[in-house]
């Protein structure tokens, strides 16, 4: 597996837009179809939101690291924080029939990614969310579907 990029940013909501833009550009460089590109942006944005809101609980001194790895047509993304260990059992989708504000992020991540795993950092405080997604580079894209170079 080849490491493509590693970025880091402080855990603030105003940093999410640049992160989304970075993900779009990286996915386009990798030849990702537009549909999968939007899924990647959605999942990574939601995951970073959860780190800002729940792991760091609004502490703007927190750091978030995102690593992008690639093997064949599969992109692996690791979203790393250095907050206290999360209760991994509590991170799950909620009942969507219960219509109320909030709590949709984990559901959305599972909906659009091929693989989702939450784990603790082994040797220090912090958590890692590993996401995997087939980029669909070899897929027959419809006209205009492939991301612009």
């Amino acid at each position: 597996m080849k490491k493509l990029e590693r970025i880091h940013f402080i855990a603030r909501a105003d940093r999410l837009a640049p992160v989304r833009q970075f993900v779009r550009e990286l996915a386009r460089q990798q030849g990702c179809c537009e549909e999968n590109l939007e899924h990647l942006v959605m999942a990574i944005n939601e995951a970073c939101m959860n780190v800002i809101q729940h792991a760091y609980r609004g502490d703007e001194n927190g750091e978030v690291v995102i690593e992008f790895w690639k093997a064949d047509d599969e992109l692996t993304i690791k979203i790393i924080d250095f907050a206290e260990y999360a209760d991994l059992e509590s991170i799950k989708s909620r009942d969507l029939d219960d219509v109320r504000p909030g709590g949709l992020g984990v559901h959305l991540i599972h909906q659009v990614m091929d693989y989702v795993e939450y784990k603790h950092q082994p040797d220090m405080n912090g958590n890692v969310l590993e996401l995997r997604k087939q980029l669909g580079v070899d897929r027959q894209c419809t006209a205009g579907d492939r991301g612009q170079e």
Binding site: R20, E38, M42, N45, P101, G102, L104, G105, Q111
Partner: protein
């Protein structure tokens, strides 16, 4: 995110545009709730929304629930493809009243 307010018949129209993410959704929520606090039936126009995340969707759900509690009408208009995808994945497309354009509003 930018917003504008206009009238369409008996409705107030809150037009949102740009990106509604964790950084911008508090302003969207504020504008929605302010309109409802004035007792106005509300249409939220999302046709110029490029991106909305779950925090933005939460603002819409809160508006929907506040309107229902106050017996006010609340609907979404011109939901962009990007926003519709999030609503569908959240299974909220069947919860909200949706109109393609203002001309379709009953």
């Amino acid at each position: 995110m930018q917003f504008g307010i206009s009238k369409h018949g008996n409705y107030t129209v809150l037009s949102l545009s740009g990106e509604i993410d964790l950084n911008q959704s508090p302003e969207a929520r504020k504008q929605i709730l302010q309109c409802l606090k004035r007792g106005e039936d509300l249409l939220v126009d999302l046709s110029a929304v490029d991106y909305i995340d779950s925090s933005g969707v939460a603002s819409l759900v809160e508006g929907f629930q506040t309107a229902r509690a106050q017996m006010l009408k609340f609907a979404l208009v011109g939901v962009s493809a990007s926003a519709m995808q999030v609503l569908q994945l959240s299974r909220l497309d069947s919860v909200f009243t949706l109109y393609e354009t203002l001309d379709d509003v009953e």
